[in-house]
């Protein structure tokens, strides 16, 4: 049976360096497919989608709210052609009711051990409208290595440099952060994968650079330390979300190849200053993730925060505006206070203001968002700062003998398209 799995494109943030990473959800999904399913994967961000083909069954995998309207369009086109369409993924779960209107079926929850039923139902013309496995987590031991062989790897190179592969060592999150829907999606308890399973998967990945996509590694110190110890021999270089703020853990992380972390910076406190310094002391760079426009933010607070980021020598900063994604406390608050001013899901990319901020106008917050990006990257552009980080990882790789040269045959390509060089005149 031919199954076509599609990852819809979304509009990238204006003015930002574009990197298309190989998606994680589809490769995890593909690993759980029955053997008789012949899968073709199309990532519309880097590839061309065609509608007239011989696929028997269409799957649409959506991670971001910004993907859902395009996902619905794609489904509508295939359904016009008589194809059955099933949706899955994080944003299908966040927007399940709306997505059902464009679907023959939706899958809610995690797939391990459950796709045999779906495909058997499809073959017997008994596809169910909803496969509801919300909060019914499969045995963590069932999560095997993701099936990265479905990816067209050449599409994830920029000027000959391969992008990081995505990888997960745990699911769920014990934290319940204000703007985040992970607690709703993955359950409010941390579910670490057994270390031997993680090691088994690491051994299958031919990419030396990884992005460990777990929500936070800092949820179980013993497991985290065991993980890092086992990772050391692989000599991978990786970025991740926060690591435990503990010298022993940070030291192990550095030995295991920690390259940089995404760390939320929410105020100008000494705690944040010291937290960033401790990462730096262990040779781990920090990309700050900075949320602007919370109820506590005045215009002065935001400007002061940007100054602070420069003062503490953050390696990179990613600014976003408070966006009320469904099933978050932020959404509940904005809904109850009637402060959602834009209901177009395409605008929910965390770069466009869709709420009425408490302490300023939406226009002012939008202006401050651009101010933050422009001010932080005034002396050194985002590309230059990224290049510095890239140089750091190359030096580490040269030192431990894992460096591989750029692909010369792809040096004039960027994510599958030829780079058009501008003449300097």
């Amino acid at each position: 049976m031919k199954f076509k799995l599609i990852y819809p494109k979304w509009e990238k943030l204006e003015g930002q360096t574009i990197f298309n990473l190989p998606p994680h959800g589809p490769v995890v999904f593909a690993a759980a497919l029955p053997e008789y399913v012949d899968i073709e994967f199309v990532d519309e961000n880097v590839d061309t989608l065609t509608f007239d083909d011989d696929a028997d069954f269409i799957g649409i995998s959506m991670m971001l709210t910004g993907q859902i309207k395009r996902g619905w369009q794609i489904a509508d086109e295939f359904r016009k052609r008589g194809k059955k369409v099933i949706f899955g993924g994080i944003s299908t779960m966040l927007h399940a009711e709306e997505t059902m209107e464009h679907a023959d079926s939706i899958f809610l929850g995690e797939v391990e051990g459950r796709l045999e039923q779906v495909f058997s139902d499809f073959r017997n013309n008994k596809l169910q409208k909803v496969y509801n496995f919300m909060n019914q987590h499969p045995d963590i031991n069932l999560i095997g290595p993701a099936r990265r062989s479905i990816l067209k790897k050449e599409l994830y190179y920029h000027k000959g440099v391969r992008m990081v592969d995505l990888f997960h060592a745990s699911r769920g999150c014990k934290y319940n952060c204000y703007p985040c829907a992970v607690a709703y999606l993955g359950g409010k308890c941390f579910r670490p994968r057994p270390i031997d399973k993680v090691v088994e998967e690491l051994a299958t990945i031919d990419n030396n650079r990884l992005f460990i996509v777990d929500n936070s590694l800092a949820q179980d110190k013993k497991w985290e330390m065991d993980l890092f110890r086992e990772m050391i021999p692989f000599k991978k270089k990786w970025c991740s979300h926060p690591i435990e703020d503990d010298d022993e853990v940070l030291d192990l992380a550095a030995q295991a190849g920690a390259w940089f972390v995404y760390q939320a910076v929410f105020d100008t406190s000494d705690y944040i200053r010291d937290r960033v310094k401790r990462y730096h002391d262990h040779g781990i760079a920090v990309e700050g993730t900075i949320l602007l426009g919370t109820d506590d933010h005045s215009e002065d607070d935001i400007k002061r925060l940007v100054d602070f980021l420069l003062e503490i020598n953050l390696d990179l900063a990613e600014f976003t505006v408070l966006t009320p994604f469904p099933h978050t406390k932020a959404y509940d608050d904005m809904l109850r206070q009637n402060r959602i001013i834009d209901h177009d899901w395409n605008h929910y990319n965390a770069g466009k203001v869709v709420i009425q901020p408490k302490q300023m106008t939406p226009e002012k917050l939008q202006e401050l968002y651009h101010y933050a990006w422009n001010t932080f990257y005034k002396e050194e552009t985002q590309t230059e700062k990224m290049f510095k980080l890239f140089q750091q990882v190359i030096m580490k790789e040269i030192a431990d003998g894992t460096y591989t040269r750029v692909r010369e045959d792809l040096s004039r390509n960027s994510f599958g398209k030829q780079v058009i060089r501008k003449a300097n005149n």
Binding site: M134, T294, D295, K329, D332, Q337
Partner: protein, 129 residues
């Protein structure tokens, strides 16, 4: 149906944990206090955040009001529904304690179209004392 809950939440507005099936039948929990006063019943449903494995009270207000009305035999017209965000002991002001009164339209079989109005603690106190 009702379990003990150990978390420190302002007990003036919280007597017990109420478990319900939320969106997609996910087991969900809220804090609950019912106060009968004159011919009205004030229902205070407290958001439990990390202690709630499922749907928030806010996200399920109309359905939850229906469930509670049925379970506790409260005539829809006599139900006053209040959502309580407990103090989360955070320096972030949006995690402070808040109360919202929720008004619905009753269509004869279920509550619809929730509308939230933030109210002062004093108003809640007046309603339940």
């Amino acid at each position: 149906m009702i379990k003990q809950f150990n978390k420190e939440i302002n007990s003036d507005y919280f007597d017990e944990v109420y478990e319900f099936k939320g969106l997609w039948d996910v087991t969900s929990r809220c804090g609950l206090k019912l106060v009968h006063k004159n011919d009205k019943t004030v229902v205070i449903a407290t958001e439990l955040y990390a202690e709630n494995p499922g749907t928030s009270v806010t996200n399920y207000s109309a359905q939850l009001a229906g469930i509670l009305s049925h379970h506790f035999n409260i005539a829809p017209v006599n139900l006053i529904f209040i959502v309580h965000d407990p103090e989360a002991k955070s320096k972030l002001t949006f995690m402070n304690e808040h109360f919202y009164k929720v008004d619905f339209e009753w269509d004869g079989t279920k509550f619809n179209y929730p509308k939230w109005s933030q109210i002062e603690k004093q108003i809640v106190d007046d309603l339940i004392r």
